[in-house]
């Protein structure tokens, strides 16, 4: 009797998630998490243009990797299953043993955005405290470059970071924001929408100031441009102003690599290469992106970012892949493990 009941529960739970869907968006997170909410908002706007029902299938797991792996290994071969990934997946792709591989997919569409950092007005910019974590790696690189200057070996940058930056472990996003507001933490960083909400009020109150941003990736030219919303604060511009030369070298290349994979793939929808339904979804997304009402609804909730759809998304991905060089990858892993104490592995196959 109990076995039967248990079996019914299992079958119902498994089937209920995707049985009635025409299109299934797989999200590697729990309900209520950032990418889950983003997907719910976009799916709701996309549905009328697609003319089909979109169901969201959540496959949560550590660092949002198992869900993406499951899609890569099994679900991508189903023509109705598409993957929604985020910038953290991009960083994990570079430095963790994950199964997924962006080169095997085609882009339905992705959002390209920038991350902006703020610092407390009374803090010493050369001795900042900042929340740690794998999602903060580009910021660690950026502040190390700004503090330590040009023409140094990676070992010297590691030593300089250790000497000058207080890297505070174990803070969730909400704790980081509050600690910054309280003044316990010198710096913080946010995407543009969250920056307006959490950091800008502190700046407006005179308690903090804009620190730096990473710039917006221009896939066609494989370079990062200044953000028109925060002009003059791109890391490259600030570095040159402070040190008299443009940033370059092995350490800088590793920085470009990691910031590109995080911010350039901040929110992305993927299909398996050759999926016959890709064109249909790309077309719906394109029409949605041209609809002022739909875009206003999305912008209101998740911010107004550039959409790269279909071939443009593929180009973005291909540009990112050009940043993956042996030296850049090795230096990224070296800085991660030695300075940030992160569990990071060099993936030789990625370079090949």
């Amino acid at each position: 009797m109990f076995k039967k009941l248990l079996a019914t529960v299992v079958i119902t739970a498994t089937m209920a998630t995707s049985a009635l869907a025409d299109v299934v968006l797989v999200v590697p997170q729990k309900p209520g998490s950032g990418t889950t909410v983003w997907t719910e908002i976009v799916a709701k706007e996309l549905e009328p243009f697609l003319g089909e029902k979109i169901t969201i299938k959540l496959i949560p797991g550590a660092r949002d990797i198992p869900g993406f792996n499951k899609w890569h290994n099994e679900l991508r071969f189903k023509d109705d299953h598409f993957m929604v990934s985020h910038g953290g997946n991009g960083v994990s792709f570079l430095q963790e043993n994950v199964d997924y591989d962006y080169s095997q997919y085609e882009s339905i569409g992705l959002m390209n955005l920038n991350i902006i950092a703020a610092i407390r007005a009374d803090a010493d910019k050369n001795k900042p405290s900042f929340s740690s974590g794998s999602g903060m790696v580009p910021e660690a690189f950026a502040m190390t470059l700004l503090i330590c200057g040009p023409n140094k070996s990676v070992d010297e940058y590691v030593a300089c970071f250790k000497e000058n930056v207080t890297w505070v472990a174990g803070m969730k996003g909400s704790e980081r924001r509050l600690a910054f507001k309280r003044g316990e933490l010198a710096g913080t960083r946010e995407n543009p929408a969250a920056f307006k909400k959490h950091a800008q009020p502190v700046i407006d109150a005179g308690d903090a100031e804009l620190w730096f941003h990473h710039g917006i990736l221009d896939a066609a030219n494989a370079r990062h441009n200044d953000d028109p919303n925060y002009p003059g604060y791109q890391l490259e511009i600030l570095f040159e102003e402070k040190w008299g030369v443009a940033p370059s070298g092995d350490f800088y290349d590793a920085y470009v690599l990691v910031k590109s994979f995080r911010d350039g793939l901040q929110k992305a929808i993927w299909a398996n290469k050759g999926n016959p339904n890709s064109a249909k979804l790309q077309d719906a997304l394109r029409r949605m992106s041209q609809d002022a009402g739909a875009m206003a609804n999305i912008a209101k909730k998740v911010g107004n970012y550039e959409w790269l759809i279909g071939a443009d998304g593929d180009q973005q991905r291909d540009t990112l892949m050009t940043f993956v060089t042996e030296d850049a990858l090795k230096n990224l892993v070296k800085f991660n493990t030695e300075a940030l104490k992160l569990n990071s592995v060099y993936k030789e196959d990625l370079v090949k």
């Binding site: 739970a13 908002i41 949560p60 797991g61 660092r63 174990g170 569990n343």
Partner: protein, 482 residues
């Protein structure tokens, strides 16, 4: 009319979710994602009312399974269960439930009014409580539960350590590497709260029920008249309820600390304030119900302060509320929202309306719901097990969910058999990552002179030491609850 319907629908939904063992507000709110979008097309403010009604009513509803079955409806109701369940065993379920509901409602109304009426004023107050103060609060919660939940305090400490260890399974916050997973990838995302609570509390009670007594209540007593006795008990012990409410409100106000902690601190304060009781705590003392029940609705109300003002969730349920509100076009923590009077009215109406509605519904029907304690266990025991199992396998739906549920059940059965405090284990589990992260943050950002300069932190540390000394050397009224 629409407002009334939204309150009623939210209240009934929340009540049902609250009553389901091991579920609670967070689970109920997660399930709303499927249809909350309906409100955006109709009237998003009604969605706010509905969500707040679910929050308020599920908190009251979760007392039922704790008192009637010895299984916390949500992890925050575990403290109520310590004296509530023994009262049910004595046939006084209606009295215990009525006391819980009335006390919960009163504090919900009191702190709901204070919260929503004075919301913008609190922003400066939150800034006073930094990382060291939060760390000291967590320590105080551990000390409280360690020394009041069992007379075997050494076993309580061991239970806390076991709970902490299980709570630390997953990702190392410093290195982002997997930790204590024994090579099982599933554990890299931590042991989920649902199977842990269900395994620790629900399964042992269900097994006991199925194997032992034919009904929950060992004595058959008329439920008639108990409603009034429950109301009277709240009036007689009003200071215990108010104290609990104050503690709950204060903990809720501090971001990230959560309900389980406030209930246990309220329970600990109740036992400490009543040292010479005829009926020992843990054996069915009604004050042990009133104290923690004063805390839970107050905590839910004040958790909305950091959530609404800063967009920083005051508790786990509040994180889901934030996401739901975002879906309804209300982005919490943004300056624009502070000027949206209708939004604040909706928060207020939803929470207060449901608090009153759930009280009326519960008081009317409690007498009959309490009859469940006279139903032979074999009738609803298997059904309960199915409910609990269903709740536990909603994470991935895979075999791993079942496996972890079974392992947690074995742990729960062992803890009960060997008299290790299960509430202490639960609080260790819940607070493990907070203990670790706050300790790391405090030692990285603060040195001794800086800490000595913080009077609230020092006061809390003195309280922790006092609790330890009292618990080890002077407390003669420790519970025998495992």
């Amino acid at each position: 009319m629409e407002i009334f319907l939204a309150i009623l629908a939210g209240t009934l939904y929340g009540l049902i979710i609250g009553i389901v063992p091991s579920a609670g507000a967070t689970t109920g709110l997660v399930a709303l994602f499927g249809f909350i979008g309906w409100f955006t097309a109709f009237d998003p403010y009604l969605g706010v009312i509905f969500v707040m009604a679910v929050v308020a009513s599920s908190t009251t509803g979760d007392s039922f399974s704790g008192v009637l079955l010895g299984i916390p409806g949500a992890n925050s109701a575990a403290a109520t269960m310590v004296d509530g369940f023994p009262l049910a065993l004595q046939g006084r379920a209606t009295e215990a439930l009525t006391a819980a509901i009335v006390c919960s409602t009163f504090n919900g109304l009191l702190w709901g009014t204070l919260t929503f009426a004075l919301l913008p004023w609190y922003s400066n107050l939150i800034m006073i409580f930094g990382i060291p103060e939060l760390w000291a609060f967590v320590m105080l919660a551990l000390a409280t539960v360690g020394f009041v939940s069992s007379k075997f305090w050494v076993r309580s400490i061991i239970a806390i350590v076991i709970g902490c260890f299980i709570g630390l399974i997953g990702m190392d916050p410093y290195t982002a590497a997997d930790r204590y997973t024994f090579g099982w990838d599933y554990l890299a995302d931590s042991v989920q709260i649902m199977p842990f609570v269900a395994g620790l509390f629900a399964v042992p009670e269900i097994v006991k029920g199925l194997m032992g007594s034919k009904t929950v209540a060992t004595v058959k007593v008329s439920q008639k008249g108990q409603t009034w006795q429950g109301v009277k008990a709240v009036w007689e012990h009003k200071w215990d309820g108010l104290r609990g409410g104050f503690i709950g409100a204060f903990i809720g106000f501090l971001p990230g600390l959560g309900g389980a902690m406030s209930d246990w601190m309220a329970y600990g304060a109740t036992t400490a304030a009543n040292p010479n009781e005829k009926i020992p705590f843990g054996k069915g003392n009604i004050k042990g119900v009133i104290g923690p029940e004063g805390s839970n609705n107050a905590q839910k109300a004040t958790s909305m302060i950091p959530t609404v003002l800063f967009g920083i969730p005051g508790a786990s349920f509040a994180a889901i509320v934030m996401a739901l509100f975002m879906y309804l076009d209300f982005e919490l923590g943004t300056p624009d929202l502070v000027y949206d009077d209708r939004f604040f009215d909706s928060l207020f109406i939803g929470f207060m309306g449901a608090t009153i509605a759930v009280c009326v519904i519960c008081l009317v029907f409690t007498r009959w719901i309490a009859m469940i304690t006279y139903i032979p266990y074999w009738v609803f025991g298997p059904l309960l097990l199915v409910f609990v199992t269903w709740a536990c396998v909603q994470y991935t739906g895979g075999w791993e969910d079942y496996a972890i549920f079974i392992l947690c059940s074995i742990l729960g059965l062992s803890a009960k058999y060997f008299k290790f405090s299960r509430p202490a284990m639960l609080i260790g589990f819940i607070l493990a990552d907070r203990i670790e992260s706050l300790s790391l943050q405090m030692f990285i950002l603060y040195d001794i002179p800086k800490l000595l300069d913080r009077p609230i932190f020092l006061g809390l540390c003195v309280a922790v030491i006092g609790m330890f000394i009292y618990g080890v050397f002077f407390n003669k009224t420790r519970l025998n609850y495992s």
